[in-house]
Assembly symmetry: D2
Homo-oligomer: 260 residues x 4
């Protein structure tokens, strides 16, 4: 059985449903609107245990998943959606050993998820034109021990990338159609292209470009998630819903050969 040690990261789920991701540091006190706790008292406890804040609020202490981490550090920049991330990983065939190019790095949320999936044998090459995003991503990846599976690269992907024969090429850019040629060059035969865009015009432009530049099996979807409030006698879907985050466009590289 694995016990909580100094330096571990823990996820607090409070009585009121708030979530906090914290590193266990001796001598440090963690303050919230539901009171504080001394982090030191967690050392030697079991994950999944409950603790009480100074004001009597009861919190559960979980071992954070990669998704918890990602949802936490994007709270500081922009929101990332599990519904979309999960679908991307699945259709991207992402698993141990994969080589992926991604642009832009942005919050590093997708980079982190990708890194955790391709580890320990694969690699994520993540490009951004903004150094500050790369710096932020680096810090997050280091904290999670994932930096060794990622190469953070400064540059404009529209001008091409160094990588060749990659398995997957993922875009989260304002003008994804401008990077379609770069993706084609970098991908291996039958390799997968994915682009994430909030607006329908971005989708149309990108899909037209994909069809022109030799991609096949082009598809665009939108994923919706409905949360349910489950309680005997009072069960119903939650009132508000994150109804639109992005469209996900995918395609596969085709090659021109003398047709048989």
């Amino acid at each position: 059985m694995e016990l909580i040690r100094e330096g571990d990261r823990v996820l607090f789920l409070t009585e009121k449903g708030k979530r906090y991701l914290v590193e266990v540091v001796r001598g440090k006190r963690f303050h919230t609107s539901e009171g504080y706790i001394d982090l030191e008292q967690l050392i030697g406890e079991r994950f999944g245990c409950k603790i009480r804040s100074n004001t009597g609020s009861i919190w559960t202490v979980f071992k954070p998943t990669i998704l918890d981490e990602v949802l936490h550090f994007t709270r500081l920049t922009q929101i990332v959606y599990p519904k979309d991330l999960g679908y991307i990983i699945l259709i991207g065939n992402v698993r141990c050993g994969l080589r992926v190019v991604e642009a832009g790095t942005g919050s590093g949320a997708l980079t982190t998820i990708l890194a955790s999936c391709v580890a320990p044998e694969g690699k994520v090459y993540s490009y951004d034109i903004e150094e500050k995003y790369l710096e932020n991503a680096r810090k997050n990846l280091e904290k999670l021990g994932l930096i060794k599976y990622v190469e953070l690269k400064h540059g404009n992907i529209e001008e091409g990338v160094d990588e060749r024969e990659v398995d997957l090429f993922i875009l989260d850019l304002p003008e994804p159609w401008k990077a379609v040629s770069t993706a084609y060059e970098a991908l291996k035969d039958s390799g997968i292209f994915i682009s994430i865009s909030p607006t329908i015009e971005q989708v149309v432009e990108t899909v037209e470009e994909l069809r022109l530049k030799g991609f096949g099996d082009v598809s665009t979807v939108e994923i919706l998630l409905r949360e349910m409030r489950v309680k005997k006698g009072m069960t119903r879907p939650v009132h508000l819903m994150h109804a639109h985050t992005c469209y996900i466009t995918s395609a596969r590289k085709t090659v021109k050969t003398d047709m048989k």
Copy 2:
């Protein structure tokens, strides 16, 4: 560059949008409603190339992903949805090295996806009470070279499982609430529970049981996927939508300790 070899599996995407998953065998002819091709002629070609059937229909030849494989072999039993699989993998923190218990094996679709994600260092323990399902899953897993990451087990999971300290416990059973205690015993502290059910009554029963039996962070969602028809000047969501497949309930194991 990787070329198509004898024994490789290929995905045909035909002119009319049909998909076929085939093993490349010398001397074998593959027949469809859009004509046939001699599989032998693929040998030495590039993945992503186009071929022409005897009736002139043009097909693209892709290298199948795990998802292609799963969608193909479930076509023979029951339907599996990428939108749900992706979300499960993500919230289940599934990645290389994980130890997962699953019941029931069913079509083996989820088993296969899980195996491909936990490989090469993890393991999936998949239970079913029907031997025929286990047999069918075994065949599929062998064909894909994933059987070494899976232990297929015959038995009723409600009576307990052999595994302990597993990271993830996934149920796709008609009465999932009856296996909640088994899941609790098998999971490590803070380990993740996931249950998939089509009806709301199954969800309510399971959620009530989870709350009683020491799970926390209980959540139920439903994932919807909208496909878009993208063409300049004619873009719109697709008319029909797979609107309900299942509810996905997740939770994390909590432990009782003397509260501090």
Copy 3:
């Protein structure tokens, strides 16, 4: 109590869930895949009663609503969706006494619903460039006794309409933006414009034109309907869903005056 008389229209709902809309005619036999009944035997029966076909299938006999009628006669041309019709009537402020211009008439489904709502004091002016649609709509409206509330007009609405000071202007045309000026001229101050379009490009074009041509409060929505399968212990949303029929764009006429 109102009993079924000769000449009445009835809705059969069969054991297998099929719906038929039939006029009660003496001496006529009504055949279906679930057997036949002699329509004469309905005369003098109560609406809501059950009858048995010659093969023993039990049918319920309802008094048809306007919506039943519309769903029936559009089955012959194209599909109309209650979810969209209901929303249109509500935001169009449609009620007894209203004056509405509509184009195109098409199946006459919307025309019929509008006529039944504005009767007995209002009027629907329905334009189409295809005489065959007007003829078909006329037959349906006559059968339902609604023709006196409708003026069916042959012509291209882009070239203007005869009506002025109308309350509501509704378009179901392939190029709705071309009729925005006509709508502006015909509408009374603060009058309501509604356009129905399947594609997003139609919406964008129309919305841009509305903003240019003096409309305010422009809004576009899409209505989705989920059917539930309700049975104790087996309740869940229906698997397939009509996910997209059309976008509904609405606006109100503004006027230019010396601003105070």
Copy 4:
């Protein structure tokens, strides 16, 4: 052309998209967070005109629809959704001359919409057990000139209603299944029953009761509305969506007769 007169009600749509419903009173100043205007200056202006507040904010002045009124006065009690109201009116076959029983009156939103649709020849009988709701509804209906089409009644509908042979019976109650027998008694043959409930358990209970008590064609749906943000080059669905308001269950009265 109809000009704004003293005593008219107007809808302000401000530059920031806020909506206010106001009666035009001489000598009265209307204050908002975007400045104020003197209502008197509207008199003699055209509906659809624009005015400027003292702070320079430009507002459009529309003639309110019944829906505007309803959305306004429910802002004070609870929210009502056009998507649901429209569907109810359509499947309820609501039009001039209809006789409707409704319970409970609640905010009076549905009562008002129903009254405006059945006027000038029909009637709405609206029951509530809370006198304060009846009082509030009366005030709203009087203001809109619709009170003559409504009879507000104090009482518990589970114990029966005075009306017979009504066309439509609508419930918005916490335990709708308890009023199914009352509805059956009051409805004419083949008459329509509608119930609105937020939770799935209410739906299941009500549907089971409807089937037991002689209703047919029972159906439950949920209506979702997606708003689109439409702007050339930036078009996309709105991020947040009111994903669940209520389930709408409908049925039709059947009668027991000697089956032929």
